[in-house]
Every structure is written in structure tokens, then in C-alpha cells.
Symmetry: C2
């Protein structure tokens, strides 16, 4: 069987399973999640042995240490997976909720019911924990799932797939409710993103390169973001301490996350006061500052100072590097943001009511904040309970995507024999 | 300038205008709508003269009478357009609404703000009234709009575009907030659906052929439905009078609409009682019944009886034709629906609580009804106030799409200096 045929079979099986997944009640779906958690706990030694095969192959192939690190399924990582599943069980069931039922002049009562999307495809790198997290969220939301993890994790993913199937069957759900693509052939990804008849949405989790490649070919809609070029704007009326706390936290709390600040904009009136103080904080972390001429002049003497190029304003560094620009005020700041932002997350630091309200209203990004660190743009911090991904698109889910992003609202009508006049 | 360059210029202008459209307050957007309504009333004779040029050309080209009819801008049609704009003014403003603001353990307060999508592209047939309806809904929802109507209406659309611009400028909004594509070259459509950098969503309004062609090429997301193969299932426990009323209304109220019933499914236990009675009603309208063998036997003697083919179950007739099938019960009915339905609208007629609840939950269509005519699947009937289109997709808007479908929810965070720990 060639890859395309194999993937179509996987797709057909997913579509067939999706109906049973969608109509299963809350208790059944939660029972499957708990059985999977138990199976993973019980089979931890076997999982680690399977993972060891992946790790040996990865080291033999000279995989970068950071990737080997992500690939590693430590005891702690297994415990975290199991705990994650139990947390998903504790979340409220999004499925079947009926909202807004209102009587209409015709006599019918109309509202909306939250229902699963159907079949979710997840494409991700060689991180075995994603296999379980993603399967858990999709089971909870009543969807069938096709998981395609990085080929370096194939042994571990196969072992996990077996346990997931065991849990599904134990709860009386179809074993094809979750399928792990059992091939390392890259053509499987190409097939998966071009079969809208079997897959309702793709959630790619990975670097910008992976997602950009998928976008070129995909005919299935995706919930995705390419990059996070996030801005903090320190307004003329900013509280100095808040500006320092947030300016430091948004850049230095973690460098590699998509909600990390990459560009700092500072109002001219406050720049001479705030920039030198902030630079003292950045200096403790050896943050390189790529500055426009005005910020450059204010920061003269800072040990890691570089002149910014046009390209810097459009770059997600994911590193101890920050672009810095002095602007006249909120209008120039918003012009800059609307030009260079990846529409992920932006924050204004200000005590001025009108500027705060204008920023919230006029900045066209998935998350817009006042006096808070961009690092808060996250499913857990927003109270979604879990996060399947982040979306920079405007249709369907926008910003951090939790269980609701894996659902759809259909209209339901309670009638009493009404006909249209 | 070639068509592609021209459309890119239109796109750039729309994108530039979208920021001013988005930040305009309710009063400004409503003022523009009222000014457009006034201008159309005032210029009614000039509009009818422009329309006459289109009608003369259409008749000379031998356009079908039904299309000439749609193209005609009668005095009544102008009054309806004007009234439609005033109704849009009276709708609540969807933009800027903030919902769900909740404090999180970190101290930040998180919720969502409803904002415009940005730039909406509308592609439609030669119906001048759509130009004004669509422009009105997009202005109300704070979006910039590119309108591409059927080339047969070009004179009339040009005249309307002038009045729309007059209204926008009169209210202090950018004249490019609404642009009518000023060329009859079909390449303009191809360009419009492949410039995601300038257009956020396309709403195609037209026949299945048009939309299927657009789907093959579009890289901009679309809010669309291809067809409406809607089902009514008369359950064994149906109330006979409701079954007759709804079975007749869903088919015969209007034949050409997407929410018209195309297939009737009847439970075996009730078929001998309900089908002959229904046939008496259908006979008054000479409805052709394309039946499976069992329905055929029950209806023997009906004057317009035809044996159904496999193709019939998958056909949207848009005519006085109905497919009829006898099924064992709700499971076979739902299997049939999930196989052949276009996922638009389905209705069950039953007095049985469990069957009603199962149908609502398990049928995967945009509208699912109990004891009501499928003809109610409509933005006005659902209380959306207006309808830009209908969506059979599951992502973003599903079912009748009103003003909210032209908006997006972004996250807003009110902070007080919080940083991530």
C-alpha cells in the first residue's frame, strides 16, 4: 500500500470513528482519559524502553542536543503527561452545551449547540508528550484525531498509541478515535493536509519553517500561528516601575516562547528616564539591544548595543536580543505595530485612560494588553484550562486555543409544528 | 494597468481604509448608512437610467428572463434597498463589545473584544440590490469591503458605488471603505480570491457552479455553502398534522431556496398513514416524487411518480421535485442524512423525547430542528437581524451568518503591572 492509500485509510477510519466519539457522553470520554492515564503509569518502564530506542537512533544520527532533550521521556515527563490527562478530565465538558435559546415571533425557539468539529489532525515535532496532550484534548472535545509526530519519536509514539487505543476500547469508544500515523515517510504529512473530506482542521505545532511549508500546500483549514513578533509600548504617561517590571519580564522570563517581547517601543517624552533604567536590568542578562538612532544615543555606553536594521523590526529573535525604538507617541507606536507585528500579542504601559482604551481598540492583534507582560498570552494564564495551540488568524479561534477551539456551534431549533408563512 | 495590478491597488486601498473603518464609532458608521440611503432615494431616477443601460445590453445579449428579472432595479426594489439600510442602522453595533472579563489568579483580568475582520470581499451575480445590502452590513460591522458584482450590472453598480462613496465621505469615513470593482474582466475575481494579504474573507453569493470554481482557486478563506440538500425525517411517533404541515411547507413554500427540503425520509411504521395524505397535498402543486421501491408501492397511483436513482439522494432540485425514502427508524434516517446531506438543515418530526434529543445531538448539520419547517433556516427568522450569507462549514460562522460573522474576537487584558512568575 502506498502512503497516499495508507493515509486515506487512516482518514476514512477517523471519519467513521468521529460519529461515535461525538455522541459519547461526558462520563465515557472522561473514563477513556483516566484509563489512558492508568495505562501510561503502569507501562512507564516499557515507554522508557521504547523511548531509549528513539534516543539511541537520534544520538547515532547526530541530532542536536536540544532536540534530543525534547525527545526524552523522563520519569518526570511521564508523570506530567499523566497529571495533564487528569487535569483534562477535571475540565468542564464543552460538548452539548446549548446557549441563547430564544423564542422568535414565528413561535420557534432558536439557539446554538456546541459540538465537536469532527476529525482533528495534529502535526508536530519529535516530542512524545504532545502525543498524549493532543489526544487528551481531542478525546475530551469529542473529536477523532490523527496524530503525526516527528519521525525521530516513532518507537515511543507507537507505544503510546497502543495505550491510547487500550483506554478508548476500555471505555467502549472506537479504537480509531485516536490514530498515530505509523510511518516515518514525510509524504504522510502532505497527504494529511490535502484530504478535507476526512480531516476538518489541522493544528500544526512546530517552528515557523514547518508551518510555512504546510501553508503552501494545505487545503484543510489550519489553526496556526507562524511567529510571535510581540511589542511592548511604554507610553509617555507610563508608571516607571510597571514599565521596568514588564519591560524586563516580557523579554527575559523566557526567550524561546512566541509571547516573548521582540520589540520595545518607547515614547520620546519618557525614553531618557526609562531606557537607561531598563538597560541596567537587561545588562544582568547580557541582552543585546538593537536600537534606532535615538535609542542608541540614549543608551550610549551599554555593552551590547547594535544599530537596528529594517530587518530587525520584522524578526522574531527567540533569543536574548531586543529591538528598541523611540516613537513620538501612541499613534507612531500603533503605526509601527500594525506594520511589523505578527498580530500575536502587544501591550501598552500607561496610566492614561484614553491611550489605554485606544490601544485596546485599535491594535489588531490576537491579544492586546494594558500594563501586563506579553508572557501572559497563554491558554492556562487566560483560564482556558488547556491549550492546543495559538492562532494569529482572525477566523474561528484567535489567540490561545483551548477545548472550545476544537468545537463548532450549530443552530438548534425547538419547534411545535411551525411552518414558514 | 493590467487586471492583477488594478486589483492589488484596490486591495491596498481597502487594507489602508480598513483601519479607519474599524476605529470609527457607531454614530459615524450609522451616519454613513443613513447618508447612503438618502442619496439612493434622491438619485432614484439616475439609478433607474443606469439600470436601463444594463437591461438594454442584457436583452440585446439574449440574457435569460429570470436573470433580467434579477437585474431589474424597479422603484419597489430601490425602496426595499433604502429600507434595508435603515434596518441595518437600527441593529445593535456588534463592534467593541467586551465579554467575559474575569480576574485570574495572577491578578490580570482577561476577556474578549468583538472587532471587525478587516477587509471583506463579496462576489455575486448581477443583482444590484446585493451591492447595497452587502455594503451596508460591512459598514455596520466596521469592515472595508470590495464588491464584485456580475458584469451585466456594471452601469448600475457604478452609479451605486458613487452614492456609497458620497455617504462614506459625508460621514468622515474613507471613500475606499467600500470599493466596487470597476471592470467586467473575469480575471478580477481570480485576483481577488488569491490576495490574502489584502482580503481577510470572501463571501461568495451565487450558484453552486460559481462557488465550486472559486473553491478550487481561493487562498483567501470563504464563508460559503455549495448547496442545500435538506432533509425532513418523519419519525414513527410523529404527530400526523405536524408531519403534513411541515412536509408540505418545507417543499412547497419556495422551490428555489437553499433551505427547501429535497429529501423526505419516513419511518416504516407511519409511512402507510402519512405518505398518501402528504401526496394529496403535493398533488395540488404537481410535485414530482422520486421514490425508493417501498414509498413507490405505498404511493401507487400518484400522478407524478418516478423511481429514485442513487443520484437523486445527492441532488438539490431547486424545483417541484422531491426524493422520498422509507426507513426503519431514526438510525437509518441519520445514516442516510450523514451520507447524503450537504450539512445545511435537517428536521425531525416527532413527539418522542429521546428521538428528538438524539436527532439534535447526532445530526452534523449547520441547523438541526425538531417539529419545524427547514424553511426557517434564515438569518431573519433566527433573529440575526440581517444575513450576509449561509455557511455549511464548521469553522468560524456556521449556518445563517449575520453581522457577527463579519467580526472576530480578540483577547483583551486589563493589567496593573503584573509580570509572569
Amino acid at each position: 500500500m502506498d502512503i497516499k492509500q495508507y493515509m486515506e485509510q487512516v482518514g476514512q477510519q477517523a471519519r467513521a470513528a468521529s460519529r461515535a466519539m461525538a455522541k459519547a457522553d461526558s462520563a465515557t470520554r472522561n473514563r477513556a482519559l483516566l484509563l489512558i492515564a492508568e495505562a501510561i503509569e503502569r507501562e512507564a518502564p516499557a515507554l522508557r524502553a521504547a523511548n531509549q530506542l528513539d534516543l539511541d537512533a537520534a544520538r547515532a544520527a547526530g541530532l542536536a542536543p536540544a532536540m534530543v532533550d525534547r525527545l526524552t521521556l523522563s520519569e518526570a515527563a511521564i508523570a506530567t503527561m499523566v497529571e495533564g490527562l487528569r487535569q483534562i478530565v477535571a475540565l468542564p465538558d464543552p460538548i452539548g452545551e446549548i446557549s441563547g435559546m430564544k423564542f422568535r415571533p414565528s413561535g420557534i425557539q432558536v439557539g446554538q449547540m456546541r459540538v465537536p468539529l469532527g476529525v482533528i489532525g495534529i502535526i508536530y515535532e519529535a516530542r512524545p508528550n504532545v502525543t498524549v496532550d493532543a489526544a487528551g484534548l481531542c478525546i475530551k472535545s469529542g473529536n477523532a484525531t490523527i496524530l503525526r509526530g516527528g519521525s525521530e519519536a516513532i518507537h515511543c509514539n507507537r507505544a503510546l498509541a497502543k495505550l491510547v487505543k487500550e483506554g478508548l476500547l476500555g471505555a467502549g469508544l472506537p479504537e480509531n478515535g485516536v490514530q498515530v500515523v505509523d510511518t516515518t515517510d514525510r509524504a504522510a504529512v502532505g497527504a494529511m493536509i490535502t484530504m478535507p473530506q476526512f480531516v476538518d482542521v489541522i493544528v500544526p505545532r512546530g517552528g515557523k519553517g514547518l508551518i510555512a511549508r504546510l501553508m503552501e500546500e494545505a487545503t484543510v483549514p489550519m489553526i496556526k500561528h507562524l511567529d510571535g513578533i510581540c511589542h511592548v509600548y511604554i507610553d509617555a504617561k507610563a508608571d516607571l516601575q510597571k514599565a521596568l517590571d514588564i519591560g524586563f519580564n516580557a523579554k527575559c522570563h523566557r526567550y524561546g516562547t512566541c509571547n516573548t517581547m521582540e520589540t520595545l517601543l518607547v515614547a520620546r517624552a519618557i525614553a531618557p528616564r526609562v531606557l537607561p533604567e531598563l538597560a541596567k536590568l537587561y545588562a544582568t542578562k547580557q541582552v543585546e539591544l538593537r536600537c534606532d538612532p535615538e535609542a542608541m544615543a540614549i543608551l550610549a555606553g551599554y555593552p551590547h548595543l547594535v544599530a537596528a536594521t529594517e530587518e530587525d523590526w520584522a524578526t522574531e529573535y527567540l533569543a536574548a536580543i531586543l529591538s528598541v525604538k523611540v516613537v513620538e507617541g501612541i499613534d507612531e507606536a500603533m503605526d509601527h505595530i500594525n506594520r511589523y507585528s505578527s498580530k500575536h500579542t502587544e501591550s501598552i504601559i500607561t496610566e492614561d485612560y484614553t491611550d489605554a482604551m485606544r490601544f485596546l481598540r485599535e491594535v489588531d492583534s490576537a491579544s492586546v494588553m494594558v500594563n501586563a507582560s506579553t508572557r501572559f498570552a497563554d491558554g492556562f494564564e487566560y483560564g482556558l484550562g488547556a491549550e492546543i495551540g495559538i492562532s494569529n488568524d482572525k477566523l474561528h479561534a484567535r489567540g490561545p486555543v483551548g477545548l472550545e477551539g476544537l468545537t463548532s456551534l450549530k443552530y438548534v431549533v425547538f419547534g411545535h409544528g411551525e411552518v414558514r408563512k
